[in-house]
Symmetry: D2
């Protein structure tokens, strides 16, 4: 049915996309009986391992080259970004952390640690400003 296909094709406007991702992830994990492996410790490891796989794509590139990835490279990088995101969501979920709320709070905290007048144009750590 056309209407049904349209509903699937576009984001379901009523449901937050992160909430939908969490649900899909939860079902994926439950279907495979993988909760036993997904302790917070193991998920933190997996997240770090995936971040390393993402970084591997950039290791020998110059800064300039990293701005214009080939189509093939970008496709793999995109998948690694997704892997990091999925483990980040799983870990947050397992720890009952609202990732989006935590991110908004962290931006505010960073704004205090890095006041514009001190941090402008410098990459120094806040402890050195």
């Amino acid at each position: 049915m056309t209407i049904g296909r349209m509903e699937n094709a576009k984001p379901q406007s009523g449901v937050d996309p992160i909430e939908r991702l969490r649900r899909d992830l939860h079902r994926f994990t439950a279907d495979r009986n993988w909760e036993q492996f997904h302790t917070p410790k193991n998920l933190a490891i997996a997240l770090s391992v995936e971040a390393g796989e993402l970084l591997e794509h950039f290791q020998w590139l110059t800064a300039d080259q990293s701005e214009k990835l080939s189509g093939n490279r970008l496709m793999h990088v995109r998948q690694e970004l997704a892997d990091v995101f999925l483990y980040l969501l799983s870990l947050s979920d397992r720890l009952r952390v609202d990732l989006v709320a935590a991110a908004f709070e962290k931006i505010e905290l960073n704004a205090k640690k890095y006041p514009v007048e001190l941090a402008k144009g410098t990459a120094k750590k806040y402890t050195e400003l």
Copy 2:
């Protein structure tokens, strides 16, 4: 103006929260003139460094201990989760990757790599199933 402040204080229901995060992050970076440091290569490094800081909290914990973090530990872990998320969003943004779309696609891809009947209850890599 009071109305304006109220609109900022509560989530703007009409706008996707990730979209709002992206905008806030963008402004934070632009205000500090930090785009010059935020090459994709450097953002991939920063993401990996933050994932390591997150992992540090779990390194000596048993799997069980990692399920019940102290309130103080959880507060720090929450901030590290946010840091990882913010760099993940910045890097995706810089590479013009739609992170949420990529994540939905990756779940589908993983479902094919790990069919329920083969993957159920085992932590083997798909290459070993």
Copy 3:
């Protein structure tokens, strides 16, 4: 020539093994014209990426399982340990750091940060002792 082969087969007793490793590595890199890629920054990235590949082997294992790796797993882990070591030597070399001297000094420093009477039997960080 037999004598030559025997001399290669056993460690040259007069030369420090780490010194020999450094020389072999140096030649390996120079032969391939790879010094251009081996900036300290890139070597630090490569080291972290390899540490992630090493960690991947342990991510879903219990602590007990990690004590008794299968022969095949151990062979791969051994190669990852070697990769980490080779990048560690290359980076130290490039920065003119005497890695062995630095390690002896770090043990002494750690002994002060973690006095036996405070640190015995606890995994707390020195800042929490």
Copy 4:
């Protein structure tokens, strides 16, 4: 006794320095009853966390800047290199891997994966040569 102290202060010429490091590390760990925390899994995590701390020093530097670290930065980098080395030795020890032998073998393996005539001057992965 003076002679004894002098013998400890300078490198014992008859004993391989890595062997001495392993012994000192072993005693350091045993004195604190830390073997219980030093499962191979936990040591692999710690190694990766330390590699991240090392990398943090380079994250916002250009390739050129990473060649000429300030004295203060270099002092910290040297300590992080030592930390990585100490966990690498501990993990190898726990798994009964001869790290130096593994490294020599890995150089030979890499020489086959990256033949000079194909790999000269390119940073491509061996699977792409």
